[in-house]
């Protein structure tokens, strides 16, 4: 490490480091392999020892990109994502990803530079109260007041970000703190982290397990309602084993896609506003819902009093504040998901015979599968068909990211996810612009995998500049823009609920020229307006593995996402695709 000098004391070696060196060394101690960031005045001291570090730095073009890349990295790898930015505008630019990670319980550590401690509170150049701003959207944050405290703050940040219910933790480091000297040390025990109010680990409550097993034993119409917590606690194997042993139907929420194989016959797919008819209806008719790391989000429940009215609830979550927040839990078990499923398996808990239940479910499945209108050879392209065609041509294990809107729902519906970490999206916050930078982060974390971003034209325009980062850093992602010339999801709502009064949703298919824009950013740009061009463009994209590829797919603006439960409506009032309406 540059500028490191050793002073020998009588007994031990004291290593004197600058705060900046200590910060980088602390990140190395935590096993960080990559930082997504962009330098500036207040964080300048930290960028110097970074030159000599083993840690890779990905220089972004906008700090929002750094945050979403860190999220994509975390969601694809299960390891915490790290971003580093300067004070003031650098810090405020990363607020959206922090809020996004908070909503989706994604482990992040964000390092922000801060003005010197003496200048704090004086409206100094590029000062902003980023710990105050992010108080409500971080799991915790720290303002580090001395260089000696840097190792403790960094170690505590990683501990908090990755244990219990994961989340983003911000560490704000004033410039004089990174410039001053400290005697190197690193916390060796949890006690040294000095977190007297933080107790993420709990013992499994065996009484509750027994009560839950009691409910399982009586259940005739159980549903496994699988949420993002199942992925966060890496419980996919236990889920598969429990589901297969008991024969229960499984639904995976938007945050849990990939936690259970889509190809599995017991999988009904995604529940919620744009969920599968069978998944939504099975929940509605169930007599026992086993919630595994899900949080009864309004996009899943619809009208809350009408949600699964006859179901008893077993609610498994590591965060006990989720219990009884939305829906009363008949049995609440605070634990990670895997441990509970193992306990159920150990006790050989089984429900009643489910033959009748499966007969009903299979009837719903057969009556209302996912459908879309016949593709038209000369275009415009059906967005669902584009996604299916990309999926068919993709290598197994391909990671998919998305923006937010119609394309996101179609991606979740029509891509078949087989393993954890292959679906990376913005659920709780619904942040447009998430897709491209998240794909870059995912590719950095899993360079062995193909990474496709299924994006909307609106979303693409929000963060596309990060393709410059991708090209410069050699991160060959593939981006499919489903170019419907509209803020499509908003257009859909205006069509359905505002009497087709379209207000500020038209974007134009040709402005910008996505192909030229891609080329200007050093990427390969392709366009597909008909089915032949579509297949050709996908094949070309799959043959390019050294630079990013962007495909402008010209899709039908009038396409809408179905099924759909209108906001606040009961899940019983699910609207199916027009093709299926007569038969309903």
């Amino acid at each position: 490490m540059g500028g490191l000098f050793l002073l020998t004391n009588n007994k031990r070696n004291i290593v004197q480091l600058t705060g900046a060196q200590a910060l980088i060394k602390s990140l190395e101690m935590e096993g960080v392999e990559v930082i997504f960031g962009l330098p500036g005045g207040a964080i300048l001291p930290v960028y110097d020892p970074l030159i000599d570090s083993s840690i890779r730095h990905v220089l972004v073009r906008h700090e929002q990109g750094a945050g979403h890349m860190a999220e994509g990295y975390a969601l694809a790898t299960g390891r915490p994502g790290v971003a580093m930015v300067t004070s003031g505008p650098g810090a405020t630019n990363i607020v959206t990803p922090i809020g996004n990670a908070h909503m989706d319980s994604t482990p992040l550590v964000i390092i922000t530079g801060q003005v010197a401690t003496v200048a704090i509170g004086t409206d100094a150049f590029q000062e902003c109260d980023i710990t105050g701003i992010t108080m409500g959207i971080t799991k915790h944050n720290f303002l580090v007041k001395s260089a000696h405290e840097i190792p403790r703050a960094v170690a505590a940040a990683f501990h908090i970000a990755t244990t219990g219910r994961p989340g983003p933790v911000l560490v704000d480091v004033p410039k004089d703190v990174t410039q001053s000297m400290m005697e190197w040390w690193y916390p060796a025990t949890l006690e040294e982290l000095d977190l007297p109010g933080y107790h993420p680990v709990v013992e499994l409550d065996q009484d509750r397990i027994r009560q839950a097993i009691d409910l399982i034993t009586k259940a005739e119409r159980p549903v496994l309602y699988v949420g993002g917590g199942t992925l966060k606690s890496r419980a996919s194997a236990q889920l598969l084993s429990f589901a297969e042993r008991t024969g229960m139907p499984v639904v995976t929420t938007l945050m849990a896609r990939g936690a259970f194989p889509d190809s599995h016959p017991q999988h009904l797919g995604m529940p919620g506003m744009h969920g599968m008819y069978s998944a939504v209806t099975a929940i509605q008719k169930s007599d026992l819902l086993i919630s595994l790391g899900a949080r009864f989000d309004d996009r899943v429940t619809g009208n809350i009093p009408a949600f699964a009215p006859r179901a008893q609830i077993i609610h498994v979550d590591i965060d006990k504040a989720e219990f009884n927040k939305v829906r009363h839990a008949d049995v609440a078990i605070r634990s990670n998901v895997g441990a509970v499923l193992e306990a159920f398996d150990a006790a050989l808990a089984v429900p009643q015979n489910l033959d009748v239940w499966w007969k009903e479910i299979n009837a719903w499945r057969e009556a209302y599968p996912l459908v879309y209108d016949e593709p038209v050879a000369e275009g415009p392209l059906r967005p669902q068909f584009v996604i299916e065609s990309i999926a068919t041509a993709a290598a197994p294990g391909t990671i998919v990211t998305s923006g937010v809107g119609q394309h996101q729902m179609w991606a979740s519906q029509f891509w078949k996810f087989e393993e954890p970490g292959t679906w990376v999206n913005s659920g709780g916050a619904g942040t447009m612009g998430f897709g491209v930078p998240a794909a870059i982060g995912a590719k950095v974390g899993r360079p062995d995998r193909t990474v496709w971003c299924i994006d909307g034209d609106g979303c693409f325009q929000m963060t596309a500049q990060e393709l410059v980062t991708a090209r410069a850093e050699g991160i060959p992602i593939k981006v499919a823009i489903l170019n419907n010339a509209y803020l499509g999801m908003v257009r859909q709502w205006q069509e359905m609920f505002y009497e087709e009064r379209y207000s500020e949703v038209y974007l134009s298919p040709d402005l910008p020229d996505y192909v030229k824009w891609a080329e200007a950013m050093g990427c390969v740009g392709l366009r597909a307006t008909n089915v032949v061009e579509m297949h050709a463009a996908i094949a070309t994209a799959n043959s390019i593995n050294d630079v990013p590829v962007v495909i402008d797919f010209r899709t039908d603006s009038s396409e809408k996402v179905f099924p759909m439960v209108a906001a606040g409506a009961s899940n019983d009032d699910i609207m199916v695709h027009p093709l299926q309406r007569e038969s309903k």
Binding site: H140, L143, L195, G197, F323, N324
Partner: protein, 183 residues
């Protein structure tokens, strides 16, 4: 969920379903803001709040919060509070089991006519005169919130220059089961 009312600290408006949360927090910069911010963003109503160093002075402070259990289920308030990393322990003291005390300080304008009757009020309420000048007296009452409410009502018959109340602090009554402690 109700719209949160502004933090007034007006203990005379204590809601029927109030609860007292005695919250032990790390004595660090910004912790009060974290607690207050949580109440604000989750729409939980605070009726009064008192903060001071706890018995283990250097490390911890105690925040006594009177909450409106009608603005949100108490369980949600407690569990969300418990998620704050700087919150070390929470005791929920139900009003029935609580010994609640509060301090009232008031400066009242007096003249020859009113002074005697004011002294009478002071005597009956158990308050004490702590300062006097030619035209006013400052009195103090340390008592139950109800006693402070009562005195405040009595003082409406006089010209009050200033009246301050601290917001209550509370301990469980002796012999009562230890309050539910969540840590």
């Amino acid at each position: 969920m109700n719209t949160p009312e502004p933090f007034l600290g007006v203990t005379s408006h204590t809601p029927v379903r109030h609860h007292i949360l005695s919250v032990m927090v790390e004595n660090k910069a910004g912790v009060l803001a974290r607690v207050a911010g949580l109440f604000a963003r989750r729409g939980f109503n605070i009726y009064s709040l008192a903060v001071a160093p706890a018995e283990t002075k250097a490390r911890f402070s105690r925040i006594t919060i009177v909450v409106d259990a009608e603005s949100a289920p108490l369980e949600q308030i407690v569990e969300q509070l418990d998620k704050l990393v700087n919150v070390v322990a929470i005791s929920d003291i139900t009003p029935k089991e609580a010994l609640e005390r509060e301090l009232l300080l008031a400066t009242i304008k007096t003249n020859v006519d009113s002074r005697t009757s004011l002294l009478d009020v002071v005597g009956k309420s158990g308050a004490a005169i702590v300062d006097v000048d030619a035209g006013s007296v400052t009195l103090m009452l340390a008592g139950t919130p109800a006693a402070c409410d009562e005195l405040e009502r009595e003082l409406e018959n006089y010209t009050t220059v200033e009246l301050h109340r601290t917001g209550r602090v509370a301990l469980p009554r002796l012999g009562k089961a230890a309050p539910a402690s969540i840590d």
